[in-house]
């Protein structure tokens, strides 16, 4: 999935309500939209030679969050992702799963309404993948953050999710998981996806 940070137009729409699928939308300027948006990219985007805290503080500064407030928030997010004891370590020394959790935490520092995750679990082991999935689902239920989760791994989708099937930049289907499956005349997401992309397709992204 490509995330357009390079947004050529001055305004674009973003869900106004944190519930995914909320129809209500507002128009924002690019800056205003980015302020409400947390993004986790597929490739690693951390400064490997800086410490965990330094990475967080840098991101906070880029969002105009003053140093004292930034320190409070980074302590807070580090506790939440269970990395408090690694606050001073260089990012280089973290495991893949820890880096990913840190990136999610970083994307939440400026308290966005919507979190975009671009194949966040790619390249992680089973345990780390499950941890991240649980963590993100908690963010949705406990903090009311909207999440757009792009993935190729269909076992990450649960039946209560809202699903958008993207194929080569086009939306093939969207709606609650059960309905998308039923509309495709399939039994599960896998088959539904294969049918929708007419089996031969090699690429596509799904976002619950």
């Amino acid at each position: 999935m490509k995330i357009g940070i390079f947004i050529p137009n001055a305004t674009f729409d973003l869900p106004g309500t944190p519930e995914v699928g909320g129809i209500e939308t507002f128009s924002f300027t690019v800056g205003e939209a980015l302020r409400r948006l947390g993004v986790v990219f597929q490739p690693r985007t951390l400064d490997l030679d800086l410490s965990v805290t330094q990475n967080l503080l840098y991101h906070a500064a880029l969002h105009g969050i003053a140093r004292r407030e930034a320190r409070l928030r980074s302590d807070e997010v580090l506790t939440r992702i269970g990395l408090s004891d690694r606050a001073g370590s260089k990012v280089r020394d973290l495991s893949g799963g820890q880096m990913r959790r840190l990136e999610i935490a970083r994307a939440l520092l400026h308290r966005p309404r919507l979190l975009l995750l671009d194949e966040a679990t790619v390249g992680l082991d089973v345990k780390a993948r499950a941890d991240i999935l649980t963590h993100v689902r908690q963010l949705v239920t406990e903090q009311g953050i909207g999440v757009l989760w792009a993935t190729h791994l269909f076992d990450e989708i649960i039946s209560s999710d809202d699903l958008v099937v993207l194929h080569q930049g086009r939306v093939l289907a969207h709606g609650p998981v059960a309905r998308v499956i039923a509309d495709a005349g399939a039994q599960d997401v896998n088959t539904a996806f294969m049918r929708l992309t007419s089996a031969a397709a090699a690429s596509g992204s799904v976002a619950p």
């Binding site: 690019v30 939209a33 951390l46 500064a61």
Partner: protein, 282 residues
Amino acid sequence: MSSLTARQNQSGFSLSEYLTCLNGIVWREALRFLHQRERFVSALVRPLVWLFIFAAGFRQVLGISIIPPYETYILYEVYIAPGLMAMIQLFNGMQSSLSMVYDREMGNMRTLLVSPLPRWYLLFCKLLAGTAVSLLQVYAFLLIAWFWDIAPPPIGYLTVLPALILSGLMLGALGMLISSGIKQLENFAGVMNFVIFPMFFASSALYPLWRVQEGSPLLYYVCLFNPFTHAVELIRFALYGQINWLSLAVVGSCTAAFMIGAIYAYDPSRGLIRRGPAGGET
């Protein structure tokens, strides 16, 4: 602590948010610089090699007559010191743009670009941060040069600061402009050869322009139109508490031109950076 709703309703950015952002970018750049000790050492060794070896060797060959801003006969070492200060900034400007190419390849650039603040401001902060790092290097050089009997008037250390900031911005903006056209890190060595060396040698850094004119009138004009010459002269005069107005005008307008060019080039909707599979920038 600003509440969620307060933030949601607020639009635009306050001055303190701009300053926090600037602070953060300069801080990160300084941290990165301090972590790369080799870079600091090589940034210092390079001009010192020129000073200790090249200048010592050429002291006998090149006589320097009394030209402004100097009031007496000077040693060759004293003459090339401002040129070497500008060289430090030239290398630093190219190096920070190199790190932008690297950031772009490694994805670190995305961190910068998801900032809600305007793109031009982020680039400007980057430039200021690079300039701040170059100032550290130049003053470290001046300190060592002082032990080598290159002792401008004490007030010169202060008056040279604005000149250094301006020349640092100019060379940093030039580096940024060049880096926007570079797709891969490997191409950079070529740019170093095609930009740094010609700029440095075809300038008044190593020899006064009147001497160049005696040798080759054509080269004299090349030097005269080289913005680096004016950066050197601006620094040279400022180091002795004087202002070279022509150089100030040239450096000032080149800074503005390069900066506008760089901001334009880094603007995705019309700039030189293309999206899509070929450009590699998403």
